[in-house]
């Protein structure tokens, strides 16, 4: 379950070190030492955290990726917790945007948890940092994760909650953010979805509504460098199938019926779209759009 990397390059930053993140010095209980893989930069003062559910919907994954991408395109570092679902999507989006991202772990920096994120960790260390307050070798124990959430919010100017169930860990991060005087943002979701419960409650309690990355940037008084624009140019059957796709999973049979194409044909079109990164396939031959743009 736990992948151990015996020889990992890491750096120790104590509270007295000049390289210690200034934002963390200001919180109530800053860790005495931080273990860092990769590199923290001056630019990381401008950071926003994107957090949410581990069992995320395709909608949430697409939103988190999109936010990660758009934030980094505007020069903002994306902070998250490397968990499955929203966290991983936010990191991935930031990497796609070509910007910086920081993963805050609840275990030692030499331990990959969850284990399937080995490649993601390698990419994040290359384009930002993976850090933890726990010394290397510390296993991922349950109680450590809520504690590290204060670092996620502490490192950022604001926290964006994308999806979360009633008792989600993202609630802890949002509470920490309020304690630390950080902004709290929430992205609305479908009314009936369980994953929308937390962001909607936060919105009722006064969190800022986010439907565009500009909403975050303006609230934090950051300059908009890169406005949200994008389009996908497709033709013929590909255009027809793409138009039918949404962020709700649809089975290949249903898509074939709605597009009026035989199943043999639609499979070929979908593979083509998938190869271009426009479509994602989920377990059970269900398809969704891979991006919110277009």
């Amino acid at each position: 379950m736990i992948g151990r990397r015996p020889q990992v390059q890491f750096e120790v930053l104590t509270l007295q070190d000049p390289g210690y993140p200034t934002a963390l010095r200001a919180i109530a209980d800053p860790p005495q030492a931080l273990y860092v893989r990769g590199r923290l930069a001056e630019a990381d003062r401008t950071a926003v955290a994107v957090v949410g559910a581990r069992r995320a919907s395709p909608y949430g994954v697409a939103v988190a990726e999109w936010l990660g991408r758009e934030l980094t395109r505007n020069g903002v570092t994306v902070v998250s917790g490397l968990a499955r679902g929203i966290d991983a999507a936010a990191h991935r989006g930031a990497l796609q945007g070509g910007g910086r991202t920081i993963a805050v772990l609840g275990c030692g920096v030499d331990i990959i948890y969850p284990p399937e994120h080995g490649r993601l960790v390698a990419q994040i260390t290359g384009a930002g940092a993976v850090l933890s307050e726990y010394p290397p070798g510390t296993p991922p124990l349950k109680h450590q994760f809520p504690r590290r959430n204060r670092l996620i919010s502490g490192l950022a100017l604001g926290v964006v909650v994308v999806e979360g169930r009633e008792d989600s860990g993202a609630l802890i991060t949002a509470d920490c953010a309020l304690d630390q005087g950080r902004e709290v943002f929430a992205v609305p979701g479908p009314v009936f979805a369980q994953t929308s419960v937390l962001p909607h409650r936060l919105l009722q309690q006064g969190a800022k509504l986010v439907t565009m990355v500009e909403h975050i940037l303006e609230e934090l008084h950051l300059a908009v460098q890169h406005a949200t624009t994008s389009s996908v140019a497709l033709q013929g059957a590909e255009a027809a199938v793409y138009a039918q796709l949404t962020l709700d999973p649809q089975h290949i049979d249903v898509l074939a019926l709605r597009c009026g194409l035989p199943v043999s044909e639609i499979g070929r079109v979908l593979i083509g779209l998938e190869l271009r990164g426009l479509v994602r396939v989920l377990a059970g031959q269900r398809y969704v759009r891979a991006t919110v743009e277009g």
């Binding site: 499955r84 399937e116 290949i252 979908l270 190869l275 031959q285 269900r286």
Partner: protein
């Protein structure tokens, strides 16, 4: 006095001659059977004695010795009842034994002298013809299967008295003639693909599987129709040829699974053993070297529902017969080879709770749990499946006005056409794309530069494993055959990729 009656027995699927020698002589009254008889043969004494008495003859109170030659092979079952009874009557001069040479007798006797059916008659009749035995007297209920063999006379008898009348010449039985081989149209089964609504993707996959003889793995939540699809696969396979039908009938005859009085098996077999099945029952063997489920599925479909629940040793034991199309079972006493050319259809849930990737219900399994569940199918076994098909549970509301499925007959016509392409391409050296050798593959799956580049991109972007590469080409070849295309290109490869879900990293995502 001595009498000799010819009979036969079956070992594996092959019959061998057994001579029943009866000696009735002086000494204290006794009845002894020698020649490695098993319990059922030992009990023949009582049945034979009663049957002879009730037929109006008598068993003299003398020393009766019966030898079953060859004496070193174990004899099983009650099929020697009839030859023993006839032998006793001949040895005691109650019957003129002049006609016994060249006649082979088989049958179980009931106490009142009636003759009951015995298994394996078709195999015995085939062997009798080979050895030049011109006549067979067999139980009436089984006579139809023996009569499938040309060149021998089959006399159906229902009582011991009838047999005696026939041998004495006083009341000869009319020989049963072989039925003419019916035209090669397939008989209607009791299931049809037309009954499957929706599931267009899975139906298409079954058509491709049938056209190329590919093994299929169906993955889907409980109640999504995996069994329904598998059960209908035999109905879209090409109909059994006469030779194949005889082949299958012989196996069922030996296994004692032919309904009495029936002709040859005309429908491709469909076997669906439960997941608690033992290795011996699956592969064949046991004390009497009986054919297993894989042999009963010969030229048909073996369906393993709940694949991960099968014992690991049973699943691993399938690998070699899947490759060799036959299985050799060695026991201390004997070694038998059974044919096992079957299509394997496996079915499983996508995760322990069954709802991974199901729109209708939430899956609560964690990614490691799902991975562990799927890991129960070993890589080498997974490799034997050319197509992996996701079978969803699609709600009727989702499929607005679902079209009624295409009937099996129409699908079968396309399958037969595709098989014809393959037959011509391989010129009889290989029956279908699933069985292509590496050399045949290199020749018939040549890719142009365009499709080759497409394939490279796909392998990188979609995370297709190198292991699945061969399988992908085979399936793409079959898709091209279904279209009647000589060359195959990107479109065929793209569709084939849809049926390799297990090669792709997507199993763990949402």
């Amino acid at each position: 006095m001595l009498a000799r009656v010819h009979s036969a027995a079956v070992l594996g699927l092959q019959a061998y001659g057994v001579d029943v020698e009866v000696d009735v002589g002086g000494g204290l009254p006794a009845f002894a059977i020698v020649g490695l008889p098993d319990a059922a043969v030992q009990e023949s004494k009582e049945r034979v004695r009663a049957a002879i008495r009730n037929a109006g003859y008598e068993v003299p109170p003398r020393k009766i010795t019966i030898n079953l030659a060859p004496a070193d092979v174990r004899k099983e079952g009650p099929a020697f009842d009839l030859p023993m009874a006839v032998g006793i009557l001949a040895a005691t001069a109650q019957l003129n034994g002049g006609h016994l040479d060249g006649t082979l007798l088989l049958g179980e006797l009931s106490l009142d002298g009636r003759i009951r059916p015995v298994p394996g008659l078709l195999a015995i009749a085939l062997a009798a013809r080979e050895r030049g035995q011109p006549a067979l007297i067999v139980p009436e209920r089984n006579a139809a299967e023996a009569a499938l063999v040309e060149g021998i006379d089959v006399y159906p008898a229902s009582t011991l008295a009838q047999v005696i009348g026939h041998l004495e010449g006083s009341a000869p039985i009319a020989p049963l003639r072989r039925p003419p081989p019916p035209a090669a149209e397939a008989p209607a089964g009791d299931v049809d693909f037309g009954e499957v609504r929706g599931q267009a993707h899975a139906r298409r996959a079954m058509e491709i599987a049938a056209a190329g003889g590919h093994n299929v793995l169906l993955v889907g939540p409980p109640g999504s129709g995996k069994t329904m699809l598998a059960r209908r696969l035999p109905t879209i396979l090409p109909p059994l040829s006469w030779e194949e039908a005889i082949d299958v009938t012989r196996i069922y005859s030996v296994a004692g699974l032919l309904p009495g009085g029936s002709g040859p098996v005309r429908l491709r077999p469909f076997r669906s053993p439960h997941h608690t099945t033992s290795a011996a029952a699956m592969i064949g063997g046991g004390a009497g070297a009986r054919p297993g489920e894989i042999t009963l599925a010969h030229r048909g479909v073996l369906f393993l529902d709940e694949l991960p629940e099968f014992h690991r040793d049973v699943l691993e034991a399938l690998r070699q017969p899947l490759e060799d199309r036959e299985v050799t079972v060695a026991r201390a006493q004997l070694t038998v080879t059974f044919p096992a050319a079957f299509m394997l259809v496996g079915a499983m849930n996508p995760c322990p709770c069954g709802h991974h990737g199901d729109d209708g219900a939430d899956c609560l399994c964690s990614p490691p749990q799902v991975a562990r569940y799927l890991g129960r199918i070993s890589g080498p076994l997974l490799d034997r499946f050319d197509l992996h098909v996701d079978v969803p549970r699609v709600s009727p509301a989702d499929l607005t006005a679902p079209p009624v499925g295409e009937p099996s007959e129409r699908i079968r016509a396309r399958v037969c056409a595709a098989r014809e392409h393959q037959r011509r391409r391989f010129a009889g050296t290989c029956a279908c794309n699933a069985l292509m050798t590496a050399k045949q593959m290199r020749r018939s799956c040549r890719l142009a530069e365009g499709p080759r580049a497409f394939l490279r991109t796909a392998i990188e972007r979609l995370g297709l494993s190198a292991r699945g590469y061969d399988r992908l080409l085979r399936v793409a070849r079959t898709i091209a055959d279904l279209e009647g295309a000589a060359e195959f290109g990107e479109a065929h490869l793209a569709e084939a990729m849809q049926y390799r879900v297990f090669d792709r990293s997507l199993r763990l995502s949402g």
